[in-house]
């Protein structure tokens, strides 16, 4: 029987998940872990799948099909190179490529697959997906809902108690949120709601427009009127978006972006995370409405939820986390790479069908939140000893996160950075890991309090590098502390166990050695050693019952008996 793989057949990207030796992993295509869901023909008629097909899209849109997932279940066809293809056929070409990738990784033919679909997919779309799988040469073992796959990736099916889980999936081009109920291994999607035209690409475009407007303000020229400049700006926007997920500011530089009467014009803009958040907030608020709608459809309140899982690359944006956390009162889980969670979950389902053992996905996470002490100003009052989290607990490590903080007073020249670990809103109720003084602060502008960017860099060993940069002078200070109470991983535990073993022979061990010798002699010589046999049995019993005095007596006697025998 062929091995079974799990396939996330996505709108923009697809991926293959597989469980081997109990471990779930992605089967990559060379250096690529995800494959663009694009199919095309070159002018010479060669079939292109994935990145090369995507690369030619602008040049040969009439020879290239993308986002075919949106058409699944419809009777619409796509014309490529003068021939009409059904959505099933296009999907089948992608699936066949994924099959090839799986076979290259596993070194054998693979003919069985689990394929995921969105929870909102119609029966026709599901059937079309199954057909596509069969055209590609697969026996489709299961059509699996994407939110269910995410829950499986997190191993939530392995708990007995009933759980209600929301899966929030914000990808490159689609958004949906599903309410999943898990009960003794049975998984059911109770409701799903979303927007098939919302995702990270929209955020890129909003940020690109923002950058174009900054440029226009400075030079009176709109870069969007030039294709070349537009393409460069879109790149820059996407890069800036990614940087802003870990940094509070990003410097966007596009030198020689345009020319005005032969004079080169450069874009050089600093974008604050807050500015980016302001841009995308309306779109994100829309996702919260979908969330409420899904809860309503499932006849549930946010307080009924046990967990929130994050899927899709755009869930890496900190504001998404904060909004959903604030909306549900739960800390969303993002430990498993949100780009890969669905494919890994499909791989988990495949393992269940194949009867393969499966361990939980092991990810190194921080067990406690890490942050610094701050003072808050509320209603004109200064409230000291507040705790501001920079790295949330359950964040996958290694990780790097930064935030910007303002001094309280305009003439303030120093800030004490106190690093804490814990969950209490009151800083001093958490564990103080270390602190350092940052002085000679300079204000960025006269009359404004100085600001510092505090960066937390947490490595796999639990070492936390804290650095602060003065925004005005770029001067830097920092400290490295050890984040405590990091749970030992199984390998560390095993190493520790081995270390303490066999250090010295204690009383109990001495007794065991004597008993072992007695037993050996009894076996060797057999008859005539009734006393030895009786004493040995007595000692064994005394050890069992824990009578120490009796143990000592019998040990003594046993030693004598054995000694005498030894003398003979």
């Amino acid at each position: 029987m062929s091995k079974i793989i799990g396939i996330d057949l996505g709108t923009t990207f697809s991926a293959v998940g597989f469980a081997s030796q109990g471990e779930l992993r992605i089967l990559p295509n060379g250096a690529e872990r995800i494959v663009p869901s694009v199919v095309g023909f070159s002018p010479q008629g060669a079939l292109l799948v994935g990145t090369p097909a995507r690369n030619q899209y602008v040049l040969y849109p009439d020879r290239t099909a993308r986002s075919i997932k949106r058409k699944m279940g419809s009777a619409e066809t796509v014309e490529l190179d003068g021939r009409a293809y059904s959505p099933q056929e296009i999907s089948a070409i992608i699936l066949r490529e994924l099959k090839r990738i799986a076979e290259a990784n596993l070194g054998e033919e693979v003919t069985r697959a689990v394929i995921t679909v969105p929870a909102y997919f119609s029966d026709a779309a599901r059937q079309a997906t199954k057909d596509a799988g069969e055209i590609a040469g697969f026996t489709v073992e299961r059509i699996l809902n994407e939110p269910t796959a995410a829950a499986l990736a997190y191993g939530l099916d392995r708990t007995e108690e009933r759980q209600l889980v929301a899966v929030y999936d914000l990808g490159g081009g689609t958004f949906d949120v599903s309410i999943v109920e898990l009960n003794s291994g049975i998984v059911e999607v109770r409701a799903s709601h979303g927007n098939t035209q919302l995702g990270g690409d929209d955020f890129d475009e909003l940020l690109m427009n923002f950058l174009a407007e900054r440029f226009q303000e400075e030079y009176g020229l709109d870069p969007r009127t030039e294709r070349r400049a537009t393409a460069r700006l879109l790149h820059a926007a996407e890069q800036a978006k990614i940087t802003l997920s870990t940094q509070p500011f990003v410097q966007v530089r596009e030198e020689y972006l345009m020319e005005l009467e032969g004079r080169p014009l450069h874009l050089d803009v600093e974008v604050a995370r807050a500015q980016f958040e302001e841009l995308i907030l309306p779109l994100l608020e829309g996702t919260l409405s979908s969330f409420d709608q899904a809860l309503l459809d499932a006849d549930l309140a946010a307080s009924d939820l046990d967990k929130v899982l994050f899927v899709g690359g755009s869930t890496r944006i900190p504001l998404v986390w904060e909004l959903v956390a604030g909306h549900t009162g739960l800390e969303p889980h993002i430990e498993i790479n949100p780009d890969e969670a669905v494919a890994l979950g499909a791989g988990a389902q495949a393992a269940i069908i194949a009867g393969e053992p499966l361990d939980a996905i092991l990810v190194d996470v921080t067990a406690h939140s890490l942050g610094i002490e701050i003072a808050e100003i509320a209603f004109g009052e200064l409230i000291p000893d507040r705790y501001n989290v920079i790295i949330h607990r359950n964040t996958t490590i290694p990780t790097s996160k930064a935030q910007v903080y303002s001094a309280v007073f305009a003439d303030q020249t120093s800030i004490q950075v106190k690093v804490y670990q814990g969950e209490s809103a009151v800083a001093s109720e958490n564990t103080l890991l270390g602190d350092f003084m940052f002085d000679q602060l300079k204000p960025e502008a006269a009359g404004l309090p100085p600001r510092i960017t505090v960066n937390f860099d947490l490595d796999l060993n639990g070492l936390l590098r804290v650095s602060a940069v003065d925004r005005a002078s770029r001067r830097q200070a920092g400290v490295t502390v050890k984040a405590e109470h990091l749970p030992l991983n199984p390998a560390q535990k095993e190493a520790a166990r081995e270390r303490i073993e066999g250090l010295e022979i204690d009383a109990a061990e001495g007794q065991q050695i004597l008993l072992a010798r007695a037993r050996r002699i009894l076996v060797e010589r057999g008859a005539g050693l009734e006393r030895l046999s009786a004493v040995a049995a007595g000692l064994e019993q005394a050890i069992e019952t824990g009578e120490t005095e009796r143990q000592e007596e019998l040990e003594e006697e046993l030693t004598d008996l054995l000694y005498e025998l030894d003398e003979e």
């Binding site: 060379g30 250096a31 095309g40 070159s42 002018p43 010479q44 292109l48 990145t51 090369p52 097909a53 995507r54 690369n55 030619q56 899209y57 602008v58 040049l59 040969y60 009439d62 190179d81 003068g82 294709r227 070349r228 393409a231 460069r232 790149h235 530089r253 030198e255 020689y256 020319e259 032969g262 080169p264 066999g502 022979i505 061990e509 001495g510 050695i513 004597l514 072992a516 010798r517 030693t559 004598d560 054995l562 000694y563 030894d566 003398e567």
Partner: protein, 298 residues
């Protein structure tokens, strides 16, 4: 008859014996008297000697009793020693037993260590390999971070070229602006149309050209550093579009110079490391346009 002979013989013998006894008794009486005196004498001497010996015996007895006492003590000591020896032996036995067990444990541990060492060696080799791969990956990451700077340099050079192209060029003066003599000379083939004078333009262009050449050297230097890491720029301009190396970002009408499917221009240069594409080139590709305005197929 025989009995009679025997009886006569016996009487005779008895008579003889009686006579002898009587004689002997008499003689013995005398001798006894003599002997008695001698014995008395001897007895006295004996007594004397006995007293002497008795006097010598007392210290001996004392000595013997002392000897007896010390023998008992010795016996006790020997018993104690014996006991002690037994205890020591037992202890020794116990220690030996434990020692044997420890020896066994040490042997086991050594064996395990040996195995571990073998594993360790394999691990180290693996780690070294991994370290090497990690270092390469890290260096590649650094290079990837440097690429935007190199892109900027490309932009700067392209902008410089455009600037140079815009620099005022000397051009032939208008015929109408020439004097009659000049026009005549040109008409007779004895002269050429003089060029307009642009103040400092030539010098300025020369300076810009030299400056751009310098910048080009800086770029070469950077590319050289990348080549040391086996990172090379992808050629794109003038090549046929290859979806494995190029990303089409724009199309432009094909011309005689640029046929359909040729890369005309680069938005962003691509790079490869060994045979792998590190970053595909973003290119403008020529497309043939039909007379009815539709794009050509293939």
């Amino acid at each position: 008859m025989r009995q009679l002979i025997l009886a006569v013989l016996n009487v005779h013998t008895l008579l003889g014996l009686l006579a002898g006894w009587l004689l002997g008794a008499r003689r013995a009486q005398v001798a006894e008297r003599d002997a008695q005196a001698h014995v008395d004498e001897q007895f006295a001497a004996q007594l004397e000697r006995a007293a002497e010996i008795a006097a010598q015996l007392d210290p001996l007895v004392a000595e013997i009793s002392a000897l007896n006492t010390s023998a008992a003590t010795l016996r006790e000591s020997v018993a104690a020693l014996d006991k002690q020896l037994g205890r020591v032996g037992r202890e020794q036995f116990k220690v030996n037993t434990l020692g044997e067990a420890q020896q066994q444990q040490i042997e086991n541990a050594l064996e395990q260590l040996g195995e571990l060492n073998t594993h360790r060696e394999a691990d180290v080799a693996l780690l070294r390999e991994q370290l090497h791969a990690d270092q390469s990956a890290q260096r590649l990451l650094v290079i990837q971070r440097l690429l935007p700077a190199l892109d900027g340099l490309d932009q700067a050079l392209a902008a410089g070229e455009r600037l140079r192209a815009r620099a005022p060029n000397p051009e032939p003066q208008k015929i109408s602006a020439l004097s009659f003599q000049q026009r005549l000379a040109i008409a007779l083939g004895r002269g050429e149309i003089p060029m307009t004078r642009v103040d400092g333009a030539a010098e300025w262009r020369d300076a810009l050209t030299a400056w751009l050449a310098g910048l080009e050297l800086v770029r070469e230097r950077l590319l050289h550093a990348l080549a040391a890491e086996r990172v090379y720029p992808l050629s794109a301009r003038g090549e046929p579009f290859d979806p494995n190396l190029h990303i089409a970002v724009e199309t432009a009408p094909a011309t005689d110079e640029h046929s359909d499917g040729m890369v005309i221009d680069e938005y962003r240069r691509g790079y490869q490391v060994d045979d792998r594409v590190l970053r595909a080139a973003e290119v403008v590709v020529a497309r043939a346009i039909n007379f009815n305005g539709e794009e050509n197929e293939g």
